[in-house]
């Protein structure tokens, strides 16, 4: 399908009200997108701990997506603003240790934006394919080369 190319592994933290509902809508509308991300549902993107993102990279992820509600639309009023601030800081710290900040992607997807969710997934996978595997994972673990999610 995609040949033997590198398939990035992704963890997607999706809030249940917007991004998660948008992902459900992408499903209901049968909008296909690459299967690289494993979704983990949280109530609010504001619950996402920077430590989880770090853990994902340590466990072999090549990218982490955090999906929340559009600014001003957060089900919990302002949770997404807090996320934005935390993730921004996290990206800076990660850059220090050699993890490209683009590997952490924060996206606002509303419950009505199934198409947008599918597009975000496609784009993110493309970008990570271009970036290649996370160097940290390559060194620390004797992974089969570019096993990806199809291992």
């Amino acid at each position: 399908m995609r040949g033997n190319g590198f398939e990035p592994k992704i963890v997607a933290f999706l809030c249940r009200w917007c991004a998660g509902a948008g992902a459900d809508l992408a499903g209901t509308s049968r909008l296909s997108y690459p299967p690289n991300a494993v979704p983990i549902r949280v109530n609010c993107s504001g619950r996402v701990e920077p430590a989880w993102v770090v853990e994902a990279f340590r466990s072999g992820a090549d990218g982490v997506l955090i999906g929340g509600c559009h600014p001003g639309d957060c089900h919990y009023v302002v949770g997404n603003y807090k996320t934005r601030r935390r993730i921004y800081l996290l990206q800076k710290v990660l850059a220090e240790v050699g993890v490209e900040p683009e590997r952490v992607r924060l996206e606002w997807v509303s419950a009505t934006e199934g198409a947008r969710f599918a597009r975000v997934m496609r784009e993110f996978v493309e970008e990570l394919r271009a970036l290649g595997p996370l160097a940290m994972n390559q060194e620390e673990k004797a992974l089969p080369p570019q096993g990806g999610v199809h291992a």
């Binding site: 049968r30 296909s32 494993v38 983990i40 109530n43 619950r47 920077p50 853990e55 009505t112």
Partner: protein, 656 residues
């Protein structure tokens, strides 16, 4: 943290993978998922079923819970928004705490969007992660809460009125907030209503009076919702009552004030086709039955600048010192029925709307047809008051035009245009009407028959096609178009053009939705929790919607929705008790340093801090933002703890 499921044998998780007919099994190798699950640590039982949500499927889950003495269950099936409740109830019936059951979404977020072996691989990962979560879940008991028995209805159009009446008739108090000086909404402006052609005001005003006389309904007109806090059953609302400067109880509607008022501004009720004074009543049957002084246009609220109205008011009803008032109420449920506006004139420049005076919209035409309107029901055109002999109606003006305007169908325009053409013909016997349409959508009871009546009239010509241009030529309005059935160019020298403008959400809908923390769709109409199965509910529990605020709608539909929303609200108001999710934030007092970083993170004011932090379980809405902010790990979200998520992440990424 103590082991979540203590006992000599550790966790005993059961995994139930659903085929969902072909919906999941068509793409995902369901058997393989179950096999993979069976090999996971802590999983003692894994199986599949054709339809897990069916009675036999649920029975399978229940039996396994009992026979296998399960301490946790993962159901790999559709989105948790579909059947989490179903399966948690089943778990409870089998004696397992419902919070020990979780849904792994392998349909919406897997089988429906992927294909091939990768879909199965992803499903396995999703299930693996969920097994880890369930192993860390604790049994919980829902929190019981008291609740208000009052309902707030926002918007006093026909939908809001109907909802208010139904809730009140069921025995509950209603606060009906309307931002204009009277309830009634758009229906009050209409002349006659399709498909029966009964007089709109004649059927509306009795309902308005019923609402105003109902002992359980309190109408707050000329008021707006400022702020909404709280949650299901316990919403706290702040309502701003704009000063009307007229004491409603004293006003006897003599109308002397309006006669002496020197101000003249466009009258909104007549869509600007007439003028009103700064002190006015929108229409004689307005409810509340009182004049209103519009401070924006008044020369000055001090007797020194003008004061004419107060001088002539024998009832002494005018009070220039009236102040804005804030009303605070606790309500258990909220129904939003804020209705619609028409797509603005300026947006339809190609049809000369807004620049050619004899190009008007449907609501303006309603006013020209209405016996209470500016022309007393005689159709006369705005520019010179002449009776128009040739009228062109243009349907889909701004609708179904994704490139330039609105992509959607406004649904009711085919019907009201047919009505307009018929009423015009009743009115002007020798007049001729042309109707441009893309196609006719008359899918309602007796609707097709109604449109046929118009089509069969030999002085109403239906032209299938699009109008390219509308412009003024001398005292005529030129309409250029194409008849797409014959391919012929059409040019009509009309006296009046009526545009069936797209319906759009009422101004301010978006702001209000934000205050309520509910969603709007891309076109700004209120978004329902599920387009098919929960069409009246917002995603936030306890908030419902009715009428054109949710999408273009005619009166019968708006009324039906309103009664439905009322029934939903009554379901909450009449409940013995409401329960609140126990999956809330909690503080480990031994770890908490009292640093106070958490409290300002909470949008609900659920956290107070003295020596240590405390969470109010009822106010907490479980977002977990405070948890992510806590530097000492003292704050946690029940059943979404750090260790759990970390294990989920590891399981999601693990190989093999």
């Amino acid at each position: 943290m103590a082991a979540p499921n203590p006992g000599p044998k550790g966790p005993r998780v059961g995994v139930f993978v659903c085929y969902c007919g072909k919906n999941i099994a068509g793409t995902v190798d369901v058997k393989k998922v179950a096999e993979a699950a069976a090999g996971l640590p802590g999983v003692v039982y894994a199986t599949t079923h054709e339809y897990m949500c069916s009675d036999p499927g649920q029975e399978l889950v229940k039996r396994a819970i009992r026979e296998q003495r399960l301490t946790g269950v993962v159901v790999a099936a559709c989105s948790p928004s579909m059947h989490e409740v179903t399966f948690r109830r089943a778990a409870q019936e089998a004696g397992l705490n419902p919070y020990l059951l979780e849904i792994a979404n392998v349909r919406e977020q897997c089988s429906w969007v992927h294909e091939g072996p990768a879909a199965t691989d992803k499903a396995v990962r999703i299930v693996r992660a969920m097994v880890e979560k369930v192993k860390g879940n604790h049994p919980l008991t829902p929190v019981e809460i008291g609740h208000s028995r009052t309902c707030l209805v926002i918007g006093g159009g026909i939908a809001g009125i109907q909802a208010a009446l139904d809730v009140a008739d069921a025995g509950f108090d209603v606060i009906l907030v309307e931002r204009s000086p009277t309830i009634g909404g758009r229906m009050a402006q209409l002349s006659e209503t399709f498909p029966t052609l009964d007089c709109s005001q004649c059927i509306l005003t009795p309902k308005m009076v019923d609402a105003s006389r109902h002992p359980k309904i309190r109408i707050l007109a000329y008021s707006e919702v400022e702020e909404v806090t709280g949650f299901l059953g316990n919403y706290r609302v702040r309502i701003r009552r704009k000063p009307a400067y007229v004491i409603a109880d004293k006003c006897n509607l003599c109308g002397e004030c309006a006669k002496v008022c020197p101000v003249r501004v466009p009258n909104e009720f007549d869509q600007g086709l007439s003028e009103r004074a700064a002190i006015y009543i929108p229409f004689p049957q307005a409810v509340p039955s009182s004049y209103t002084l519009d401070a924006k246009n008044c020369l000055g609220l001090v007797p020194l600048t003008c004061g004419e109205c107060a001088k002539v008011c024998e009832a002494k009803a005018i009070d220039y010192d009236m102040q804005e008032e804030i009303v605070e109420e606790e309500v258990g449920a909220i129904i939003v029925a804020t209705g619609y506006d028409l797509y603005p004139k300026e947006a339809m420049a190609e049809y000369g709307h807004g620049t050619v005076p004899d190009v008007i919209d449907g609501l303006e035409f309603e006013r020209l047809l209405s016996a209470s309107g500016p022309t007393k029901g005689q159709v006369r055109r705005p520019s010179d008051g002449k009776v128009p002999r040739e009228v062109v109606f243009i349907q889909c003006s701004g609708s179904r035009d994704p490139e330039l305007h609105k992509p959607y169908c406004s649904k009711i325009c085919c019907m009201y245009t047919a009505k307009h053409a018929l009423l015009y013909r009743h009115n002007v016997h020798d007049g001729k009407a042309y109707v441009f349409y893309i196609d006719i959508r008359a899918g309602g009871k007796d609707y097709e028959e109604f449109v046929n009546r118009a089509m069969e009239d030999d002085r109403i010509l239906y032209l299938r096609g699009k109008v390219a241009k509308v412009f003024r030529e001398e005292d005529k309005v030129m309409v250029w178009g194409v008849d797409t059935l014959t391919g012929k160019r059409i040019e009509i020298r009309a006296d009046l053009v009526v545009l069936a403008q797209a319906m759009v959400p009422a101004e301010g809908t978006w702001d209000l939705a934000r205050k309520l923390r509910i969603a709007c769709g891309s076109e700004g109409f209120l978004k329902e929790a599920h387009p098919k199965l929960r069409p009246l509910e917002a995603l936030s529990a306890g908030i419902f919607m009715a009428g054109a605020a949710q999408g273009p709608k005619d009166i019968p539909e708006a009324v039906a929705q309103a009664s439905g929303a009322a029934a939903k609200a009554v379901g909450i108001l009449s409940a013995d008790k409401l329960v609140h999710s126990p999956e809330v934030a909690e503080v480990d007092e031994d770890l908490c340093s009292g640093c106070k970083l958490c409290a300002p993170q909470c949008p609900y004011g659920a956290i107070t801090v003295d020596e240590v932090a405390h969470v109010n379980e009822i106010l907490c809405e479980s977002c977990g933002t405070c948890v992510a902010a806590c530097p000492s790990g003292a704050m946690s979200l029940r059943n979404c703890q750090d260790e759990q998520v970390v294990r989920m992440v590891q399981a999601a990424l693990a190989e093999g």
